[in-house]
């Protein structure tokens, strides 16, 4: 058992991080390459200024009109996306492990704060799932895979939460936590989670078309 744990907490972490980062990198260069091949005009309209202007505008909470029309959803969504990165990166237990492996460390979140924030993430994901089933226009677009994606994200958080509290089956809970976290990383480049890469690109292109050609705002 210990050697299995050593594997999933050692080499498997490497494998999943490499697939995650490598996958996104390959995807990124694939996009650039095929833009060059098939749609080079895209480059002639893209400007750094307008791309950043649009991305920036959409990063400011409740600045775009669309976000003000749906304040609850956007509020939850903003918070969720920030926490999705902040919690794993600033969790004391993760930092301890990274410190043991690489002798680097950085300030950690207070444990009980992290605990509450984890609950916030779980609640946000439940909210997304419920909204999918309740709001007609969202429901109309929804397929089983959309729930599956929510499941993939919620698992590491639920298992992490339960493991932290050591309520039951601690060892199995940690194993499930590690595996589901790795699963999420591995899935990112191959699923619509890759919007973490493509969304800034599509936004930048639209921002450039609006800013550079149409002289209009796109938020």
């Amino acid at each position: 058992m210990n050697s299995f744990i050593a594997f999933i907490m050692g080499p498997m972490v490497w494998i999943s991080v490499i697939i995650f980062l490598g996958g996104l990198l390959i995807k990124f260069f694939g996009i650039i390459w095929s833009v060059r091949q098939k749609e080079p005009y895209i480059f002639s309209y893209m400007t750094v200024r307008h791309s950043l202007r649009s991305i920036g505008a959409w990063l400011i909470p409740f600045f775009p009109k669309s976000t003000r029309l749906r304040p609850v959803y956007y509020g939850v969504s903003y918070l969720f996306h920030i926490l999705l990165f902040v919690i794993p990166l600033f969790l004391a237990s993760h930092i301890v492990l990274i410190n043991e492996a690489f002798q680097v460390s950085w300030p950690a979140l207070n444990n009980s704060l992290a605990d509450w924030l984890t609950l916030v993430v779980i609640a946000a994901l439940v909210f997304f799932a419920v909204r999918r089933n309740m709001v007609p226009e969202v429901k109309f677009l929804t397929a089983a895979t959309d729930y599956l994606l929510i499941l993939v994200v919620i698992l590491p958080f639920i298992t992490g939460f339960l493991a932290y509290h050591q309520w039951f089956a601690y060892r199995w809970m940690v194993v499930a936590h590690v595996l589901s976290g790795e699963l999420m990383l591995i899935i990112i480049p191959f699923s619509r989670f890759s919007h973490m890469l493509t969304a800034p690109l599509t936004r930048a292109y639209m921002g450039s078309e609006f800013g550079n050609v149409r002289h209009a705002r796109d938020w």
Binding site: V35, S66, E137, M206, F210, V213, A216
Partner: protein, 457 residues
């Protein structure tokens, strides 16, 4: 949201029945009959694989089905928030299914796809401003129209305008001599008012080539008169071409007939080049601007138009701010302004338009939302051009716009775009709104100092 008054809501209620009878037309039906499964499959795959690239792929892969684009679309808002009219749902019911079935779709599916892309989306790109990822659903709807075009199932009326473009290079089957006659007739009429007024034809080296869309000589020759009056009073060095290429409209752009669309834009620019003008000024038309400023030039490999293209709104702004035209007495009635998507969202002219309106009119109220966020007219993205068979449902799909107009309480609606103008006129009649509709040029002409220009002064 606006709250329509009671009579409005009553009106709106009985229109819902219109939707039940979903119209189709002979061109679509006979087109569908001709199709074979093999051809459908080949065409769809050819367009989706060969004519698109990473951009399309990113749009399809990135959409998180969040439904935030829904609130952007007038069609969705006008139809009781029916999900079928939501932007992403239109993609789901066309593109996603075509991709999932690898092009093996039925004729019923295609009949539906024609409807969705030609009648239930006005390619206004409002949704691109509401989708957090900036996914361009109008682009994908134009792809669907392209597929329909290649399958020869484009709605009859709009196809006829494309046929006209193809034969005559103008949209309305205007014959070459008819065109010249109309210009001369307007010149003659205008001379009663302005003694030496000229509509200079083919004047090589003039500063400005003035261009219009074909419906002007066909039905609205008065607009040419007004433009000539303004040019004359302002003392501009201008000309109009007498040969094909004078029409800046482009319906082929909206049917996905990119080849003809490209030809039209090319002929237009070549005409300007032949006349060696410095810039091209165009009348109050939105989609024409889209053609020569955005889409037509690209098809001909010009990143930006080879000539400076000045839309009427910007031109009026120039004439008024430079004092070339002075306003005698401001227009008194309460006016509101419709921002046509192709000139505001498409060219950022909304602020200039407001300045002009304020220079010309005393009492201006905004409609809400406005500027880039204005609701589309539901007509000028090729929808109105699909013709009378679909007018009933167009009115249903414009309910939202009618509410927006009613809430302004304005007496006069300024619509500086031809297709908006016609579409909004239909809305006003259908919903019984107490409103007149005018072009901005109408108001300027009405209020301006009718000075007689003498060369050298």
């Amino acid at each position: 949201m606006q709250t329509p008054d009671n009579t409005m809501t009553e009106q709106l209620k009985d229109t819902t029945d219109l939707k039940k009878t979903k119209a189709t037309d002979p061109a679509i039906e006979s087109g569908l009959k001709r199709l074979t499964r093999d051809r459908i499959k080949r065409t769809i795959n050819q367009v989706l694989e060969k004519e698109t690239g990473p951009r399309f792929k990113a749009y399809v892969e990135t959409c998180m089905r969040c439904g935030l684009c829904a609130d952007a679309c007038s069609y969705f808002l006008s139809n009781d928030r029916d999900p079928h009219f939501m932007p992403a749902a239109k993609v789901k019911n066309t593109i996603w299914k075509m991709l999932a079935k690898k092009g093996e779709v039925s004729k019923d599916f295609l009949r539906q796809a024609v409807r969705i892309s030609h009648l239930e989306c006005n390619v206004c790109k409002r949704c691109a401003m509401y989708c957090p990822f900036g996914i361009d659903i109008a682009y994908m709807m134009l792809l669907v129209r392209r597929i329909c075009h290649k399958l020869e199932i484009t709605p009859q009326y709009i196809q006829d305008t494309v046929n006209s473009h193809s034969v005559t290079l103008n949209q309305m089957w205007v014959k070459d001599d008819e065109w010249i006659d109309t210009l001369q007739w307007q010149e003659e009429d205008a001379r009663d008012e302005f003694e030496d007024l000229q509509i200079p034809l083919d004047k090589v080296g003039a500063d400005i080539m003035y261009s219009v869309i074909a419906p002007e000589p066909k039905f609205q020759a008065g607009l040419i008169y007004q433009a000539a009056a303004m040019m004359h009073a302002a003392g501009m060095d201008w000309t109009m071409p007498s040969t094909p290429g004078w029409d800046n409209s482009n319906m082929a752009m909206y049917t996905g007939d990119n080849e003809i669309s490209g030809r039209i834009a090319r002929a237009f620019f070549e005409t300007a080049a032949k006349l060696r003008v410095k810039r091209v000024v165009m009348g109050e038309c939105g989609h024409a601007l889209r053609s020569v400023y955005d889409m037509g030039n690209r098809w001909n490999s010009w990143a930006m138009p080879p000539f400076e293209v000045v839309h009427a709104l910007a031109f009026y702004h120039e004439l008024l701010t430079e004092g070339r035209i002075t306003i005698k007495e401001k227009y008194k009635k309460k006016v509101t302004l419709h921002d046509p998507c192709n000139v505001s969202r498409g060219r950022g002219l909304h602020d200039k338009a407001r300045q002009v309106v304020n220079m010309v009119c005393e009492n201006f109220v905004e409609m809400v939302p406005n500027r880039e966020h204005n609701y589309c007219c539901g007509a000028g993205g090729g929808v109105i051009n699909c013709g009378p068979p679909y007018k009933g449902e167009r009115m249903v799909n414009n309910k939202n716009k009618a509410e927006q107009l009613a809430a302004t309480g304005a007496e006069v609606l300024i619509a500086p775009c031809h297709n908006c103008h016609s579409g909004l006129e239909d809305i006003i009649h259908h919903y019984g709104l107490e409103m007149e509709i005018k072009f901005l040029g109408d108001l300027i002409y009405e209020t301006m100092e009718k000075k007689i220009y003498t060369p050298g002064k």
